[in-house]
Chain length 262, copies 4
Amino acid sequence: MKRKKLRSDIAWSSAEKIVVRGLDLVGLIGNVSLGDFAFLELKGRLPTPHESAVFNAISITLVEHGMTPSAIAARLTYLGAPEALQGAVAAGLLGLGDRFGGPAEEAARMLQLALEDAGDSPDLPAVARQIVARQRALKRPVPGLGHPVHRPVDPRTPRLFEVAAANGFSGRYVKLIELVSAEASRAFGRPLPVNATGAIGAIASELDLPWQVCRGLAVMARAIGLVAHLQEETVEPLASEIWARVEEEASEHLREGGESPQ
Amino acid sequence: MKRKKLRSDIAWSSAEKIVVRGLDLVGLIGNVSLGDFAFLELKGRLPTPHESAVFNAISITLVEHGMTPSAIAARLTYLGAPEALQGAVAAGLLGLGDRFGGPAEEAARMLQLALEDAGDSPDLPAVARQIVARQRALKRPVPGLGHPVHRPVDPRTPRLFEVAAANGFSGRYVKLIELVSAEASRAFGRPLPVNATGAIGAIASELDLPWQVCRGLAVMARAIGLVAHLQEETVEPLASEIWARVEEEASEHLREGGESPQ
Amino acid sequence: MKRKKLRSDIAWSSAEKIVVRGLDLVGLIGNVSLGDFAFLELKGRLPTPHESAVFNAISITLVEHGMTPSAIAARLTYLGAPEALQGAVAAGLLGLGDRFGGPAEEAARMLQLALEDAGDSPDLPAVARQIVARQRALKRPVPGLGHPVHRPVDPRTPRLFEVAAANGFSGRYVKLIELVSAEASRAFGRPLPVNATGAIGAIASELDLPWQVCRGLAVMARAIGLVAHLQEETVEPLASEIWARVEEEASEHLREGGESPQ
Amino acid sequence: MKRKKLRSDIAWSSAEKIVVRGLDLVGLIGNVSLGDFAFLELKGRLPTPHESAVFNAISITLVEHGMTPSAIAARLTYLGAPEALQGAVAAGLLGLGDRFGGPAEEAARMLQLALEDAGDSPDLPAVARQIVARQRALKRPVPGLGHPVHRPVDPRTPRLFEVAAANGFSGRYVKLIELVSAEASRAFGRPLPVNATGAIGAIASELDLPWQVCRGLAVMARAIGLVAHLQEETVEPLASEIWARVEEEASEHLREGGESPQ
């Protein structure tokens, strides 16, 4: 009962050759950078210099966020399973969900769906008003706006938009999220500037990356950062100390009061 | 009972600034590529142009290996948990263990430990003979040599060595693995050329990356490839068909004979 | 800046003692079964015999589903990382998401939220009608009803309800899902009987387990099944063969047509 | 190129039936506990009452270890990805590696390999001496002995051995590990009593479970404990506070000194 032919267009190899997205890997080695190779993987062709600049800009922004829950979880996992660094990286990536990896996806989704519905010559200010009105009706925040730490302005945003503009990728998605920010700030009565994930969601949309892939951009970039955290853990370990402190404090009340279990 | 101060030197941020490895992230955006940023994460400084060429060359070699067990596992996981792409990537990475992610680590470890022990002016041919003799005594294959598919020569190896040499990174680690290959071919009586993971282990050692990080290079690079496989799975799905076929065939004998469980 | 005391009530230990949920572990060893211990973990007390019967009944139903995508992914992961069985189990569990692990959670959530809103003496048929009407308006299937394979009736459902009734746990959640099934069958014009996950969602609700935990029941039970699959993989391996077949078929068209990459 | 028929003997199902290890699942629901079902999965048959007592005893011992690195990693992961509880459990399990999940496997491996080599009527004291001598020669600790917290005696060990003896499972594996403990204490000149993982490794061997599965026992049991930790995290959250504290302390020195990145 074969209902469907299995088919993948990403890569194949023979004894003499490895071909990725139609290009001979050996010809790429030494000529193509990691970021451009990632573009090739996702888009099926190498980037133009402008695309490369923009794609690398959003990718590096996602690599490192310091001592995040992801990084701590990866370090704790490595403590228990030093034989399997891949497991520690995987544990760290598992935290890039709706709360930490999802926002860029959500922002891209919001923009892409809105402009899909809006036809060829969309009235961007009207689309922005609809987006904000819908989020308000759902009592949900607008994805891609505001930041708990980087206030009043997320310093990455103007730089990301600058790089996008300098390379010809400041199109209607970037304009739309800026209009959404202005409208949301007005509607909610407080400054809601575009944050880095909002900027990345918009610029990824300019690069014609489907919104479903945007969480993937965060995941692939963060894998790099997590390897760096695990490398540091081998020379400046934190996990054991975190464990000791948390264990002691969290069960203090049980220890004191709990000497006589039934 | 604080026994140890927690300390990380990777990154920090304030309201106005994000600093990674001592550099202002905003100044890097638009100026630094993903591969160079990965170098910065791991080494604490940006690469020279020569280092960049070599580091990007070994990194892109590790991104894509076609329809591996990792890629299939990631696709099967995505079928069950489409809400959590991070989980599907993590599942794929978990397969980069001793068999598929470990070889580059093992090759780098073999070379680095051998040259650590060998002092400042090592007799490389003697070191190579010792390495091969030790593996033979342990009845284990020599890491980084031979390939089940890419025969007689792994096409990536000469190109990787060429890029390393062109950038001044063809030092004693590269020489040593070539000597190990010659000695092993002699000792085992069949051609055992350096494969891509052997070349990567040697070149990573030339870049002074500790062997423990080499599995991490494979993990971070493969995360990119896995995102591409999941993107393809959304438009050209395989997982459901693989499941149906495997399920049917694997339980055929039970179905036929097993109509009357106790 | 300590904003919050860390506190956990699950377990603590000293040199002489390990205490879980207030009970001395040593006193439990040999006296308490794994299922009852799981109940203790989740509810903070040991089950009554009736609770034990019902909790074990729903738990064992979730352990094994044959050659699922989860089981295949776990086996493929083990092939690459035989040093880390924990990673292969983790990879398998990662597939228990919205599609395969979520339904019991979704059914429990539907029932618990509906009865939370409905007050002390709910009009169950009216609640059932509301539930079905809401799902129809959202154009979504009703969780916990129907099954692609087990038709016309999921054989586990009547048995689960029988065990629940025999132990005094056939209360309003069970009644409600039966009413939802009847109403949905009428509204959609085809038989939509309660499936096993619907029954489990209802019975878990009778046991007063929060709906958030229901996906966890599936996860903890399936971990057992995945270990069994990995044990079988060591003596009757499938992963390598699946890989070979998928790889060959999926890249056939590239191999044939792709001999001359640029 | 089908080289091998895919075959699994664990389970199959049809429209009317689900069969696990040759038994009709519906007949098991309500009659078999979770622990006994786990035994069925691993051994292919239901346990005798004696086997059930012993298997459940070792299983519950592995469920909960308080606020371990695993539990903390799971909670941190859940913070970032609340949509995917399966990912948080998986992250927790990934820490059950060589350091925390491996010891029971290692102890079982040591005992099983030693008695495999030793023939039908082994001289157990001689085998114990060989084991200790080999570990000393390798400068490695003897698996299953000693404990950093539970001193002088791990309170679980005598109870586990008592349950094993009461059920007829105090055979040569249990005797061997006790002899190994006596010999190691003598050879290393300090008390090295059998710890809980040593006892579990020995008793699992008495149950004829292959050593490869012993890490799996820890993994499946701990999945239960991790679900309980995640349930507690929803009502008594720790992750966010741990993150804030670690982040602040770890980057303090950078913040203070690092105001002027290049």
